[in-house]
Amino acid sequence: MMEASDDFCSDETMQQLLAAAGGDSQRGVEAIGGVLEEFPGDPRLHFLRGSLLIGLQRFIEAHAALSRAVELAPDYHIARFQLGLFELTSGEADAAMATWGPLKALPAGHPLATFARGLEALIADRFEQCIEALRAGIAANDENLPLNRDMELVIAQCEALIAARAPSREEVDRTDAVSATSFLLRSLKD
């Protein structure tokens, strides 16, 4: 778990920033920028800024901010998980897995490690395993409830994909017919 230090802004300042960010992301980013000048080593500020920048579609800056948060506090597990998730949704599956790597050291059953395991199964197209792990992560997660909603959406998408991928009887028959035609033509030629 991340330890607080003198590099951190006060909890009161953090609450004010969260209130500003809740009303207007742009205003929130500007307010955080001001506090960061005084506390550039506070990973929470970088994490919050990164999250707001994603909402503002400033993805390049968002990645830099989330990366900085993890760099400053390698044990900031939620920031690490979200950075990996952001990389995965940016099409960087390898980077996401590298980012999540240290989460494997968390105790068995830790929700973030379980979510990461589920998403790694998704990257490998092991959809059933993905669903199983994400469900286990949701059951164990009572700290970051919005994350449960995101993971439920992923489960729903996996289930829809599994349903769409099951071939119909007609498709199986058609494949057989094509193979038979190809075989017949080859026989005639030989």
Partner: protein, 250 residues
């Protein structure tokens, strides 16, 4: 150069296109890797081609000249990719439009209307042949006839790839079509296409960009950050590999 992971259906499920685009720009700006420049080129190639077509309609260009305009548009696109700053908040297509249009107009001004396409095709063919001819002293264990047979075979695969990419299924086969030949031809094309996909990078990119998008070696060199001579070597090596692997499936 390692081949990037091809997005699996699982990854595709979660990828957001606008984030993927930003990721490409971020990594390209950070590393300058040719592979990423190529991904950006692929992403915007149709956009550049559409600007070329629009310009062709405006000036009522002949069919041959339209192909030239596409080449000028691609050149402008590559320049725009190298100069674009994604942090300035201007969408790439807005930034690139003026550069692509400028490249088309400049290119048109420098070439005579009819001769341009002819010269362009001749240049592509000359570079292809020059790349494939064995250098003096090389492969001296083979007879001249064997070397010629290999050259012809490699050129034939090049022509086949070009026909494949232009969607002209019978352009090379010639003669009357019958059920088996048509099927055999299609199967050969499928195998050839698969063999191209299996080529290691950057050979795969060289073949794809040269035959699919008609890019001259010089522009592929710019795209991948390599020398023109190196592209020529990669082209020869790729066609040689294709010839050998196709021989194995005969």
């Amino acid at each position: 150069m390692t081949r990037p992971r091809r997005a699996s259906p699982g990854v595709e499920l979660l990828v957001r296109p606008e984030r993927a685009e930003a990721s490409l720009w971020r990594r390209f700006r950070a590393t300058g890797q040719g592979r990423l420049r190529e991904s950006l080129f692929d992403r915007y190639r149709r956009f550049a081609a559409s600007l070329a077509r629009r310009h062709a309609r405006r000036v009522d260009a002949e069919r041959d000249v339209r192909d030239d305009l596409e080449q000028f548009a691609y050149r402008g696109l590559l320049e725009a990719i190298d100069r674009f700053d994604p942090l300035k908040g201007v969408p790439f297509m807005a930034f690139a439009s003026a550069r692509i249009a400028g490249s088309i107009v400049d290119g048109m001004g420098k070439l005579s209307e009819w001769g341009a396409q002819f010269r362009f095709r001749r240049r592509l063919e000359r570079e292809r042949v020059a790349s494939l001819i064995p250098s003096q002293g090389a492969e001296n264990d083979k007879s001249a006839v064997e070397q010629l047979a290999e050259l012809v075979s490699e050129l034939a695969f090049g022509l086949m790839l070009a026909a494949e990419e232009r969607g002209a299924p019978n352009a090379i086969s010639g003669g009357a079509d019958n059920g088996f030949d048509s099927l055999a031809w299609r199967e050969t094309k499928v195998v050839l296409h698969r063999r191209v996909t299996d080529l290691p990078e950057p050979e795969r990119s060289v073949v794809r960009q040269h035959y699919q998008h008609d890019l001259p070696f010089a522009e592929i060199a710019t795209m991948l950050g390599l020398s023109r001579g190196r592209i020529s070597q990669l082209h020869k090596s790729a066609l040689g590999k294709l010839r050998k692997s196709m021989k194995a499936v005969r």
